[in-house]
Amino acid sequence: MTATTSTELRQPLPRRPLTGPRWQVGPVAARPYAWPYDGRVDTAHLAVICIDWQVDFCGEGGYVDRMGYDIGLTRAGLPATARLLEHARRTGMTVIHTREGHAGDLGDLPANKRWRSAQIGAEIGSDGPCGRILVRGEPGWEIVPEVAPVPGEFIVDKPGKGAFYATNLDLLLRTNQITHLVLSGITTDVCVHTTMREANDRGYECLILSDCTGATDPSNHRAALHMVTMQGGVFGAVAESGDVIFATRPANDQVEAAR
């Protein structure tokens, strides 16, 4: 599965059929409010974002493993995410995967990011058991097989923690009329939170899934989820994947016809 090349996966999304079953999500039993804010969303306007499920972050010999963290913590959300993806594909949700990584010549690697990674013994671009750390095209940079993309799903390559800066994600979402995002991935407090904050400022209605995320530090995972729920949902809301699956129902055709 990981052998799939990014070229194959960068094809335009298939146009959705105008007939056939349509699905809606919501209200989801989320905290601090029933998600989404506008009651429900057609799956045609909803995307599941799978953030950085890469070998470097949750595989043996990858970047996080090399830094000495327990990859059991970053792998914890994989089974629930795999189930969510199966559900998403069956109900017409858009699926987008992101990968953090840099060009082979490291031309898009900020000097301070490189320096800091070297300080903790895992310099970006250096050789590791899974190839050059965080370099595009290397085995460690690939998405792990449990949640691998299938043809027709988009992959966004990002140089930073956020999935919006210096990527085509915003264009991709607007072009495909996506207004609502369900967030999965690693790590909760770093790349997932940065992406959720960027998405929220851009007006996307976000839901982060507590069982489809994970962090190198369990208390950071909990704190990051807690921060989302403050002030009436300052960045969106928090739920579990089962809550989303439970809240997915066949769409009301009259609502669709009016759209």
Binding site: D38, M67, N112, K113, R116, Q119, Y165, V190, D201, A223
Partner: protein, 240 residues
């Protein structure tokens, strides 16, 4: 020609060139910081944010005296709310929504008394004030272009609240390649637990988003900028 300044910081010394550095004051607005404002009407204890003001005044005065670039930000929306995403406007069930009449004018609306920066930290005419529609200071503001035009590569970050607008801005700045030093006693949160963990997150994993130091370490470094100040024991975040 300016000297490179070295600040004792977490997780390791922070080095910067004052000529290529800006002091950023995030959202020190009446509605968030002052008693009787929007923040307090939501049930928050604004005294914890008030504690940020005296050290921040000292840092601001120092920056002005040295000629560091100073940038202020304000969160707010146009009076017709055309730049307010529906999800932000309608989410949850707050007692007051954006645009509603509040104790110091319409909530989070540009031009209202409550939206402006507190008198103690009022911008000077030549200081940039960035009006932002979101939590981050980079999205939809032109801040990145402004910093690039002036050759700024490092940011000294202050303001409120630590885990929301300060964190979002530091994350945006970090992805854009800026080196950020967050002054631990010049940022504030309504929630002490979030203040602590948000500062820890910045310097975790070798400084994944940047550096953290108390303002006295930063000011001391500037005063002795002719030589390197490196000690074996970094100031702990809790020192502030």
């Amino acid at each position: 020609m300016s000297e490179i300044v070295t600040v004792v910081a977490d997780p390791n010394p922070f080095r910067f060139d004052p000529a290529r550095t800006a002091l950023v004051l995030i959202d020190m607005q009446r509605d968030f910081v002052e008693p009787g404002g929007f923040g307090e009407t939501l049930g928050n204890d604004v005294s914890v944010l008030q504690a940020v003001v005296p050290p921040l005044q000292a840092v601001l005065a120092d920056a002005r005296a040295r000629g560091l670039m100073v940038i202020h930000t304000r969160e707010g929306h146009l009076p017709d709310l055309s730049d307010c995403p529906p999800a932000k406007l309608h989410r949850g069930a707050p007692s007051l929504r954006i645009g509603d009449p509040g104790p110091r004018g319409r909530i989070l609306v540009r031009g209202e008394i409550g939206h402006d920066i507190i008198d103690d930290l009022a911008p000077l005419p030549d200081e940039l004030v960035v009006d932002k529609p979101g939590k981050g200071s980079f999205y939809a503001t032109g801040l990145h272009e402004h910093l690039a035009r002036h050759g700024i590569t490092s940011l000294i970050v202050t303001g409120v609240t630590t885990e929301v607008c300060v964190h979002t801005t530091v994350r945006e700045a970090n992805d854009r390649g800026y080196e950020c030093l967050v002054l631990s006693d010049c940022v504030g949160s309504y929630f002490p637990e979030f203040q602590r963990i948000a500062l820890e997150m910045i310097s975790a994993q070798g400084g994944i988003f940047g550096w953290v130091a108390p303002s006295r370490a930063y000011l001391a470094a500037l005063r002795t900028s002719s030589g390197e100040v490196v000690t074996d024991r970094p100031f702990a975040v809790s020192d502030s």
